[in-house]
Symmetry: C2
Subunit: 424 residues, 2 copies
């Protein structure tokens, strides 16, 4: 039975790292809120998340020109401005002064597990103060590490970006003899993004030998990592196919050399990993020093790239499925508020009847806050350097299709001369 | 008057760094060669460029299944395998033994100014030996630094990729307060790639203040660079709009600290710049240490990304114009051979009658070999940190259109409370 919703203004907060589709959720909220103007008088956006809430910096989103929402939705980045702080106990009184002054009765917190925790803190204080407010958490993270939900809006697009990058990168690497290419992607605790690069293995058409398809090795934060095991893997792969295109999650920096590559630390205690080429450069040096080259042609070519922020904000590479689902969880959050729901996160529930589609659901915030969903063992291969078919079946519908690429078959011309000596 | 072509086999060499469309030129060669099988018996591909020629490693490309060429053409990377060596004097005898053994009468050298030099060396030796051969150079380089031709196949696609990256990256940066984002792109001597990011300024819809559009600063190898000027520019931009999204060409590493960030050196004497995050990390540290933050919100957020190889090999971001032109210069090279032409490079000649299109032409190899076309002064702004409208008019038709992005207009809600103290 639907409960009766409160009446008043709604406040939307975008928090944490942006995604390519976070504004889709905002557009979904605005679209659905337009159906309930008798209950939700205005939708406010907190400018820069909790900063905006504390400093009373709100935009009245109901005053935006309606025709602009489609373009805003298609834009990466957090259009309200994001923040990476959480409420201190001394902030709570202020927050409720602001809620009271602006008659905020609905709070839509769009973020990850840190945001779910912030929503819980605000809920507890509301109970202390007997302030009536409905709070829903709208999931968002490229890391795909929220509990309960099948996957997180934002993940499908980054999965598409990284798999396309690897599909092209391996052909570039393959252009040279003796190529070892190390790629560092996002993902601190969970390897979902690194794992998604495995989709690139399916993009190479007419590939007689599936072992040739990149990425050849994938290293995830969930599995044990030693430099010796890494070097052995690279050597074995190189000896077998003459090149290696591999992917490591940036979280490996936490494992190797005790945070040697980490930069600043944010308020949640997380060291900055992105925005630095340190891990890639380190692994590149390691391979250059230790790998034994058996080829007769030229010296070992070792390169590393750290893909950085473009993974989450490349506008023309967004997954259409991800866009649609991000819009939908925003719109459904408003619908759930109108049914009187509160203190929950909107979830995506996979239903494979008749092919992939998702429905939405709800789960308690307590199941999500401060928790991290790591990749299950069943999705990681037994040698800790790749994924299983179960993972590929999971991720394929979330990303978009790969471009078809093809290499030359190669019909060798019979040699007619003696060998030639130059070997560089 | 068309001259009479020789008769025999053709050899194709792909040389230097691959592009997203180098295989389009190969497909163009194969397509056109199919019309002249009475003159060109077989088209051979040298596997890994000059290595393949010296070691007699050829593929007979005429035996590839015709239906595969479209997929090969759409694949980034050099499908024949590339190389970064040039012929030594001791190699020349061998090269002509191989030509004789395989009846090579047509050489198609697909590469940059180093390849044009290699083609010249081979021509000189052919004259010494009275070996009849027709040689044409097919232009290819993401760097866009070949003389005479209006632009180089490969450049339009990288221009598209980097402008899309910046369009999204600035919205990501804008999500945070106090953001300084440093991006390092390819380009050693010439700034054509860095300059192309300026296209992103046109993608932001409904942007009332053009000064807000990124990239806010662009640094090119063609102009003087000092750390103090750089810091002053960043400070001024930051003070004006509260964030900075900037682009530097990797060639700046050659200017700053005397090659401090350079890695290996190739046979042409060029130090490796890509595949390392060194320059970005250095500039990031510099800004963190020196920039004076005036904002009341939080500490300065400085991040750097080095885009790396994906700039030249992202399969789904190729410019359709670049694809078509790359195919065409390959096909026209064969047509020119059939007209008896030799010792020339195929050029693109811009004709703006009735809108942008290009015709092909020919120029002497001597005008191209070992020369680098830098950006002219008329395309660089007077403060050495951006481009002019002349450059934007030049580059726009080569890249594809940008995605439309849009930020929230922002209708501020009136404040009702006193100021709040928390300022982080």
């Amino acid at each position: 039975m639907p409960k009766t919703p409160l009446r008043g203004n709604a406040l939307v907060i975008q928090s944490g790292g942006p995604t390519a589709v976070i504004n889709q959720s905002l557009a979904g909220i605005m679209s659905a809120a337009g159906d309930y103007t008798d209950v939700i008088a205005n939708v406010f956006g907190a400018v820069h998340g909790l900063h905006g809430l504390l400093h009373e910096n709100f935009w009245n989103l109901s005053h935006e020109a309606p025709f602009t929402w489609q373009d805003i939705a298609n834009s990466p980045g957090a259009a309200l401005g994001s923040a990476r702080i959480k409420p201190k106990s001394t902030d709570l009184e202020r927050i409720f002064k602001v809620f009271t002054a602006h008659n905020v009765k609905f709070l839509l917190y769009n973020g990850g597990n840190d945001s779910a925790e912030a929503a819980q803190l605000i809920r507890a204080e509301a109970n202390n103060r007997n302030y009536e407010i409905q709070i829903l958490h709208v999931p968002k993270t490229i890391d795909n590490d929220l509990m309960v939900t099948d996957h997180c809006p934002g993940y499908g697009s980054v999965a598409k970006v990284v798999s396309h990058i690897v599909a092209g990168d391996d052909l570039d690497n393959r252009s040279f003899y003796n190529g070892i290419k190390i790629n560092v992607c996002m993902g601190r605790h969970a390897g979902w993004i690194a794992a998604a690069t495995a989709l690139a293995q399916k993009g190479l058409a007419g590939n007689q030998d599936p072992e040739l398809a990149a990425p050849h090795l994938i290293y995830l934060p969930e599995t044990p990592f030693t430099e010796q095991k890494f070097l052995d893997d690279v050597q074995n792969c190189y000896d077998k196919i003459g090149r290696v295109t591999l992917v490591v999650a940036e979280g490996l920096a936490d494992v190797i050399n005790n945070h040697k590559f980490a930069g600043e630390t944010d308020e949640f205690g997380n060291a900055q990993l992105s925005g630095s080429g340190g891990l890639g450069d380190y692994l590149s040096s390691l391979v250059k020093q230790k790998l034994k080259v058996k080829s007769s042609l030229g010296k070992l070519r070792v390169r590393s790239d750290t893909w950085g922020y473009l993974q989450r904000c490349l506008p023309s590479m967004t997954s259409p499925t991800d866009q649609a689902e991000a819009f939908w969880v925003g719109a459904m959050a408003v619908r759930y508020l109108m049914q009187g729901e509160s203190d929950k996160m909107v979830t995506l529930v996979r239903n494979m009847t008749g092919g992939y589609h998702c429905e939405t659901g709800l789960c308690d915030l307590t199941l999500v806050a401060q928790k991290t969903k790591l990749m299950p063992k069943s999705m990681i291969n037994s040698t800790y350097n790749g994924v299983t078919q179960e993972f590929l079946d999971y991720v394929a519908p979330l990303a978009a299709t790969l471009p078809i690429t093809r290499w030359i078959q190669g019909h060798s011309v019979n040699k007619k001369l003696e060998m030639f000596a130059r070997l560089d």
